[in-house]
């Protein structure tokens, strides 16, 4: 082994320690709720907490709805831009990047200002309204990931020719989108979807300021009031996120017709 290689390994080792030690420490701490040795007591307490079940369930539903809404906005947009408005692509890309540039707290203050109870559209005045507002806000946050993923997916197929082939066979726009375009970019939509899922599950700013009872505020509340449970909760959140990443890989690998495109 020469010197360069040794250095590479040392850097990798240091990097791994930097990332893994806090995780290991947190995991170890979360296991020490009982004084007489390691146990999963903290996890049991967290999972048995009705508040956890409620907020987590709520966030999952919200995340799934965000994915559906995001796909409904992004897929037709990205498709149309590729097909008919290639010159508008930089503009659309810039718009979809805005949620990364503008902090969520600014966005949510804007929402509250425009949709408050004394506005024309008083969304924050009702339970439904607040939820819809949150959903739309999350779809905005998901835009950068969704759009990029779908646009990359569209690049792998000949959008223009496939569209023309479908048109000459009598298909309408909705039919083309549903049976030709969407199935071919489904993997991209899914990879965008899992990222969206991971973001929405842990989102705090929107939830706290719109005062909704989701998983993010629950984690923060728990962090301020308990000792061992927050660590257990963080580990659970980590596992969920990593499972999402793993699912992206799995779905991509087992898609039966995508082999030719890789």
């Amino acid at each position: 082994m020469n010197g360069n290689r040794a250095w590479s390994w040392i850097v990798i080792l240091l990097g791994s320690l930097y990332f893994l030690l806090p995780l290991a420490g947190m995991f170890e701490f979360s296991m020490r709720m009982k004084r007489d040795g390691y146990s999963f007591e903290a996890y049991r307490v967290v999972l048995a907490d009705p508040q956890f079940q409620h907020t987590f369930g709520y966030s999952i539903v919200l995340a799934l709805l965000t994915i559906v809404l995001g796909a409904l906005i992004v897929v037709p947009t990205a498709y149309w831009v590729r097909l008919r408005l290639p010159s508008a692509r930089p503009v659309i890309e810039f718009i979809t990047l805005l949620p990364l540039v503008i902090p969520p707290i600014v966005i949510v203050f804007g929402y509250i200002r425009i949709y408050n109870t004394s506005s024309i559209l008083p969304l924050t005045g009702s339970w439904w309204g607040t939820n819809i507002l949150t959903l739309f806000g999350y779809a905005t946050l998901a835009l950068p990931y969704m759009y990029r993923a779908v646009d990359t997916g569209l690049r792998t197929i000949d959008v223009a020719t496939l569209t023309e082939a479908a048109q000459s066979l009598g298909a309408s726009w909705t039919r083309i989108l549903a049976t030709v375009i969407l199935p071919n970019v489904l993997i991209s939509v899914l990879s965008g979807a899992f990222l969206t899922f991971a973001i929405v599950i842990g989102e705090y700013v929107f939830a706290a300021l719109l005062n909704i009872n989701s998983f993010g505020p629950f984690m923060v509340w728990m962090g301020g009031n308990r000792a061992y449970e927050p660590s257990a909760l963080a580990v659970i959140a980590f596992i969920i996120t990593w499972a999402c990443m793993g699912l992206i890989q799995l779905v991509t690998r087992f898609s039966k017709f995508s082999a030719a495109r890789r």
């Binding site: 000949d158 496939l162 023309e164 082939a165 000459s168 309408s172 049976t179 071919n184 030719a260 495109r261």
Partner: protein
């Protein structure tokens, strides 16, 4: 009235005038090729018939119905693309049945039709394959079956053989023609390959700079080219200069040899005329019935297998001629002096 009627079709993209006053009447069951170099507007005309481009002016009628302003999915036209354009997420059977499913046909009818089409293109048993599991030739066959499955009024083929290798190309073009004859479907075939156009078509439209230079049977196009472009684009052609002695009587002089063409010639200012002749109409040596005899020197000899192409320098010009290869007669040697002969009726005078 013709089945497919294209009248005064024009198309401009911005300042570029791509198709100029294009007129064509195609009979039911006819196989017509659009032949021309890239950028001549042939694909644009095809795409206007399909509905993918809107004409700047003019009209397209199919079976008496004006389709100029109909959307592509309302025209009932089958189209085959150069890039196959099979739906990658659907199996062969689902691809072929796509148009029928869109039309809301019952399941059993779709299955029957798909089985028929697979038999027609000679690929039974491949119905569960995905496009990426097929070769290029097989994909294009499936694309043809998909285009034909919904019984379209017109079949449009946009350079369908260009992406395939030589041998498959020849096989498939024979198959396409057979299937087209069997179904009797009105077909437009776009190609830049003259061999494809001449061998497959009932009629050929030679296009040049957005204009249909000549419309005719392959025989007419090859033997009686209407313009200089058609003559040069289709087949190989020799152009030789001659001086006009008597335009009305058709008397000219090629080099020092006086020739009577026995047909009136266009009067030119400089008294010169350009004559075109195909390599296969010129022979080495003197032959009966070929009264125009010229002397020259062999410049090049190309052995092509069944045919030997010889380039002979006559005065300041070169004439290519083809002779059949015969094992007992070796090709002439470069540099030797020869006589070549041609019949005066094979000397074509070109308009433009």
């Amino acid at each position: 009235m013709a089945f497919l009627d294209i009248n005064h079709l024009e198309k401009s993209f911005g300042a570029v005038h791509v198709v100029k006053d294009f007129n064509l009447a195609i009979d039911k069951g006819e196989f017509v090729s659009f032949l021309g170099p890239s950028g001549c507007g042939k694909t644009t005309v095809l795409r206007m018939v399909a509905g993918f481009e809107t004409p700047s002016s003019g009209s397209i009628r199919i079976n008496g119905q004006d389709v100029t302003n109909l959307r592509p999915n309302q025209r009932n036209i089958g189209m085959v693309f150069q890039a196959y354009a099979l739906f990658p997420n659907l199996t062969v059977a689902q691809n072929i049945g796509f148009g029928l499913r869109v039309a809301g046909k019952p399941r059993a009818e779709i299955d029957d039709r798909v089985a028929d089409m697979l038999k027609l293109i000679g690929l039974p048993g491949l119905d569960e394959r995905y496009p990426f599991q097929l070769s290029g030739g097989q994909q294009q066959r499936v694309a043809l079956a998909r285009a034909l499955a919904a019984k379209p009024r017109v079949l449009l083929l946009d350079e369908p053989l260009s992406a395939l290798d030589a041998k498959i190309r020849v096989n498939l073009r024979e198959e396409i023609r057979l299937i087209q004859r069997e179904l009797g479907i009105t077909t437009i075939f776009v190609t830049h390959d003259q061999e494809e156009a001449l061998s497959m078509s009932d009629r050929v439209v030679v296009m040049h700079q957005g204009i249909a230079d000549q419309v005719g049977t392959p025989f007419e196009i090859y033997n009686r080219p209407a313009t200089r472009f058609v003559a040069q684009f289709v087949g190989t052609l020799n152009l030789i200069g001659a001086s006009v002695i008597d335009a009305k009587a058709g008397k000219i002089k090629v080099g020092d040899v006086p020739v009577a063409l026995n047909r009136a010639l266009p009067i030119t200012a400089d008294g010169k005329v350009s004559l075109a002749l195909r390599p296969e109409t010129v022979s080495l040596g003197r032959h009966e019935g070929r009264n125009v005899v010229l002397s020259g020197r062999i410049a090049e000899v190309h052995f092509l297998g069944s045919v030997i192409r010889v380039r002979v320098q006559v005065g300041g010009e070169f004439v290519s001629l083809d002779t059949f290869n015969r094992p007992d007669a070796p090709p002439p040697e470069v540099g030797s002096t020869v006589q070549i002969s041609v019949s005066e009726r094979d000397l074509l005078t070109l308009a433009a």
